[in-house]
């Protein structure tokens, strides 16, 4: 039971992690919690579905799966770039406070969710089966193949992100922009480009998580409201810290699963809240311990 709970918690947490990392990345650069990520995830989940529909005759299971993931990631990046252009670009020009980004992104999230409602609300949809939905025994308990796949791919996506951030020039630029967008400009880099790239990366991550969510939980327009879990995880992890977000997400997943098995799902939110509050009081800087300078 214990092992089963931990494994379930990790698999839940790995989905939260993809969302949380997107939050952390954007918080680093623009200093706000990007709730439009939820809408982006919804759209990409449907984009992945449309892709799977077109390609299912031509491609085989695993290749098809890779193609669908790629399509969703690309569409996530494109949508995130569009969101930047429509909801954030002007706010950056007028040097608005982060709260306005926050408002703009929440509205954008609701808008995207609603566009999907309009487009796809005549029926329920679900992804084709990419691989067997069976379980394999591991440490004496059953683990679903999809869960393991999800976990592995989440880790792969996170490693790719770390590679981009720490081993490429664009990554260097983004990390520089995290310190100060204006100084980056002085150094001869285009901040528009960097911000858009950061958003596109988080959009691509959102695309991957969108497909996972859609695969596991069927498609519906409110899918993106899972974004709240990513938000919680990223704040617990320490605002802006990518490692912290991952740890926070996995801890949140395990915590939720444990409370569900101890006190039942009905009471779990109450206990998660209490633990969260206690944690923030004891360690107000979050897991990672980075303290982002409060705007003075």
């Amino acid at each position: 039971m214990l092992v089963q709970n931990i494994l379930n918690g990790i698999s839940l947490g790995s989905v939260y992690a993809l969302i949380a990392v997107g939050f952390a990345l954007i918080f680093n650069v623009l200093k706000f919690s990007n709730f439009s990520q939820g809408g982006v995830m919804t759209v990409t989940a449907y984009a992945g579905y449309v892709a799977s529909r077109y390609l299912s005759d031509r491609l085989d299971s695993l290749v098809l799966f890779a193609a669908v993931l790629a399509a969703a990631a690309v569409s996530g990046a494109v949508i995130a770039a569009a969101v930047e252009r429509l909801a954030f670009r002007r706010l950056r020009r007028t040097k608005s406070e982060p709260v306005y980004y926050f408002i703009s992104s929440i509205t954008m999230g609701i808008l995207l969710e609603n566009l999907i409602t309009i487009y796809a609300s005549s029926n329920f949809y679900s992804y084709p089966r990419f691989f067997a939905t069976s379980a394999v025994p591991l440490f004496g308990v059953n683990v679903a193949v999809t869960d393991m796949m999800m976990f592995a791919l989440s880790i792969a996506a996170l490693l790719a992100l770390l590679f981009i951030l720490h081993r490429t020039k664009i990554g260097l630029g983004i990390r520089a922009a995290c310190f100060d967008v204006n100084t980056v400009q002085l150094m001869g880099m285009n901040p528009d480009f960097l911000v858009t790239t950061a958003l596109m990366i988080s959009g691509a991550l959102g695309g991957v998580s969108g497909v996972f969510l859609g695969m596991n939980y069927t498609l519906y327009p409110q899918l993106g409201q899972m974004v709240v879990k990513g938000f919680v995880a990223s704040v617990l992890g320490g605002l802006g810290s990518i490692h912290g977000a991952v740890i926070g997400a996995v801890l949140l997943g395990i915590l939720e699963i444990f409370f569900i098995s101890w006190v039942g799902a009905g009471w779990a939110p109450v206990f998660v809240f209490i633990v969260m509050l206690a944690f923030l009081l004891v360690r107000p800087r979050g897991i990672a311990g980075i303290i982002v300078q409060e705007k003075a």
Binding site: L12, M226, G266
Partner: protein
Amino acid sequence: MKNGTRKWLFCAVLVALLAGFVGAASAKEILIGNMQDISGPTSVWGNAVTRGAEIAVEKINAAGGVDGAMLKLITMDTKANVQEAIKGYNSLVSSGVVAVVGPPVSNIGLALGPIANKAGVPVVGSFIDPRVTVGEDGKPQAAMFLMQPSSVQYSEIMASYTIDVLGLKKIGVLYDQSNAFAVSLMKPYVEYIKAAGGEIVSEQVYTKGDKDFKTQLTKIKEAGADCLYFPNYIQEAVLVTNQRKQIGFDVPIIGGLDFAPPFASLVNDPEAANNIYLANNFSEKEPQLKEVWDVYKAKYGENPVNKVFLGYDKILLIQEAMKLAGGTSSEHVMKGMPVVANLEGTTGVLTISPDTHQPVGLSMVMYKIEKGEYVELGRYVPEKHRAPWSK
């Protein structure tokens, strides 16, 4: 003189024509409201009911309307939200509708009850919570009518089938504690099972937005249940079906309406979508469906879901009430609705009880899902529900 007569005739024809036009424009349209979730979380159902209602209206109009007047459907968005629904209902009343096609969502029905009773414009809906149609004093809510089995009737059908037909007595229950629909289907089921000598070996809950039910399923499995009752929405039904297979929990699922098509195609795994029992409003093979089915398919290019037929039948009921009361005003619909009897609808033969404003003795069609395929088991109604006079 000839000339004079001609002039006179001309004038008479003109007056007659004018009178005809004025008459046609003023009295020959009956407005019917339709309150559905168009832009919110349950818009799949909202759209389905709306389309079904539209097909019924078109059919009635093509056959000459009601008393020579054409029906016109005015759709209001509720966003599945009580506040929006109250505004929408009041807006419909002020635009002069004579009846309202209600949403398949109970919470809106509960909030509309007192307001509709006061306004006197009846709501015909598929809100299955019996409190919508019967007030706390045990008297029917004057303006609220139900046109499918209530949650009590529905869950008793399922419970009776579980214990009386399948002979399963150790039952595990899993339901969404934050969802009124699920809770209202759970309580009467559990009561019926206990009264009939069955045992609830494990009762597990989850809340809105939960996606991982393996923990709860494992507990039910360990409690030794020989079947799982799971009355919830289609998304969760898909998840539970897949996760049941993942943890190797191979007992029958007794499910709600939401296991009806397209459920099995959403699971997309014949190994998982197996050994599931459900009750639907109708059978796809039943002849009365064919007409609506064909019209829908020609119009929208996909197969209709069951809510389409509920929408269709709601309009039929309103039309029948008008016919029985001999008029087309809201008072007539109110008067006619409780006396509707033996109306051949697409979802069954509808008889509304004047005491509860709910349909009487409505049977459901039982299905079993075997390897992803729906196998029909025939109509079923528990002994308890049969009216004493019917056989």
